[in-house]
């Protein structure tokens, strides 16, 4: 299933510049007891690995490293699993090259 190369996404995100908007997460996960298949898919599909399982087996999000690609919106919004918005103007990721 998953790939055989060990990759530390944190190291990749470290290259990027962010303007963090504290206390204003632009993406929210709907409270749940067991995650839907869509939510589980986000654990692997998010290129910044913003989604993680907590010790209760629920999917949680930390938006700090989000690169605003929209993948989780396409997968998780139709089922109502997540609420997706853009960060406030000027906040979020800042690409120098893009």
């Amino acid at each position: 299933m998953s790939t055989d190369v060990a990759v530390r996404v944190e190291d990749k995100l470290f290259y990027n510049r962010y303007q963090v908007d504290p206390g204003r997460a632009h993406i929210k996960v709907r409270p749940h007891t067991t995650p839907t298949p869509q939510l589980k898919a986000l654990l692997n599909a998010c290129p910044a690995r913003c989604y993680e399982l907590n010790d209760k087996g629920q999917v949680e999000i930390t938006v700090d490293g989000c690169i605003e690609c929209g993948t989780c919106r396409v997968i998780g919004e139709p089922s109502g699993d997540i609420e997706w918005s853009y960060p406030r103007g000027g906040y979020g990721v800042l690409f120098k090259f893009g």
Partner: protein, 435 residues
């Protein structure tokens, strides 16, 4: 509410939005452009190949001042299995022409420059402003936008939605659907820095010449997708993208694919010793003609990636975005010059003009391709690359086996992997979709 009223509001300062805002401002219209990034380009990701023709129509002398990286003299297509690549390379000195046809660019820098041209033409450009909603009247006509600034509602005769592939506003207002996972690819990309002489030596280039590589095969692990390696002046853009629905199905990780692509024996030597300075990701609309939504309505038009105007087969998007932005602006200007209202019926001129351009003609030509590649991804992206590579190895390796036996063993491997009906079927379906 901001009392000032505009002829047009453009949402987004990417390729489509800049082309639209520039075209309208050049014609003397009062234009407001809103961009959520700190500056135009700060949120945008691309490969990136720029096609000169479409930009030339907007800014004829762009070559003199635009931040261009390299003009392209070579295109390589690679079919990869785990250890090898079978390649088609096309290099021509014809591309060392006075006005080169294609360049590599770095989007954040290019967009910033493009935006400066929009400002020079007289448009008001407001960055760090996220448009949160469209403002509509009681009849549903779009009359402006709401932003995240205080008193953030602003009115205009028409709103140009150039918000990119992940356009929230259009879907929130019910003007079009959210992109489906099978219609968008997720691409991840890194910028690898190296001294320019190293890049020139590794890609066999002189001066500002550039080369690009597009790669398909086992790197996408049977998913519909493609890798790319583009040479810039002092860095290499390297990335890989696959359909979101395929990521969902397989559980592959985007960064895992990228890492494997970088480690491929044909790729690794090109980036050896490089310093990575950015990791980015973006969606690409891949649904083609059949995924194009309604292009206009009362008080609005949609352009570029937000309208799924992207040719996945040819890896062209920014030129379709620029062209649709320009055409929308020309249509709006015509409607305005006649003093007609910005109704759906009047704005249909944009749709008509777009249908007459290469944009819709090209997308129509390949309308069956996305579905074919999606349904047959295992064959096109895994089985065939492996078979072709095996056939090549069999062809070049000299080991005392008579050639006739080698040929029949190659043929047998194709037939046993796909069967005669499968092979003919694939060829037939591919040819039909290409037509």
């Amino acid at each position: 509410m901001i009392e000032e009223r505009f002829d047009a509001i453009v949402v987004g300062a990417g390729m489509a939005g800049n082309a639209a805002a520039l075209t309208m401002a050049q014609r003397g219209m009062k234009v407001l452009q809103l961009e959520r990034g700190e500056y135009s380009g700060s949120k945008n990701v691309q490969g990136a190949i720029l096609y000169a023709d479409m930009l030339e129509k907007l800014i004829p002398d762009f070559r003199e001042e635009a931040p261009l990286e390299r003009h392209l003299v070579e295109q390589r297509f690679w079919m990869l299995d785990d250890k090898s690549h079978v390649g088609l390379h096309y290099k021509s000195d014809d591309f060392n022409e006075e006005k080169p046809n294609r360049y590599t660019i770095i989007r954040a820098q290019f967009d910033k420059w493009f935006s400066s041209k929009v400002k020079e033409a007289g448009a008001t450009v407001l960055c760090e402003t996220t448009v949160t909603e469209l403002a509509q009247d009681a009849y549903g006509k779009v009359i402006g936008v709401k932003t995240d600034r205080r008193d953030g509602e602003i009115h205009a005769d028409v709103v140009v939605l150039a918000e990119g592939v992940n356009g929230l506003l259009g879907t929130r207002a019910g003007l079009r659907e959210r992109p489906k996972p099978e219609n968008v690819a997720l691409a991840v990309k890194e910028m690898h820095f190296l001294p320019r002489e190293t890049i020139e030596a590794r890609f066999n280039l002189k001066g500002d010449e550039g080369a690009v590589i597009e790669a398909v095969g086992t790197i996408s692990r049977g998913m519909t997708g493609m890798g790319f390696i583009y040479s810039n002046k002092e860095c290499i853009s390297l990335g890989i993208g696959c359909l979101v629905s395929d990521f969902q199905k397989t559980g592959e990780t985007p960064y895992g694919l990228l890492e494997r692509f970088k480690q491929h024996p044909s790729v690794a030597p090109l980036i050896e010793g490089s310093e990575v300075k950015e990791y980015s990701a973006h969606l690409i609309p891949e649904g083609g003609y059949n995924a194009i939504p309604e292009l206009c309505g009362d008080g609005w038009v949609v352009v570029g990636d937000a309208a799924q105007l992207n040719n996945a087969v040819h890896r062209e998007g920014s030129n379709l975005a620029m062209t649709s932005g320009r055409i929308a602006a020309e249509a709006i200007f015509q409607v305005k010059s006649r003093r007609d209202p910005m109704t759906k019926a009047n704005l249909a001129l944009y749709k008509k003009m777009l249908e007459d351009s290469f944009v819709i003609k090209d997308l129509k030509k390949y309308k069956d391709m996305p579905a074919l590649l999606h349904n047959q991804s295992q064959n096109f992206f895994l089985t065939y690359p492996q078979l072709v590579s095996k056939a090549m190895q069999n062809f070049v390796r000299v080991d005392g086996t008579p050639k006739k036996e080698k040929e029949s063993s190659t043929l047998r491997s194709f037939v046993s992997a796909r069967s005669w009906t499968g092979l003919f079927g694939d060829a037939f379906r591919f040819a039909r979709a290409w037509r």
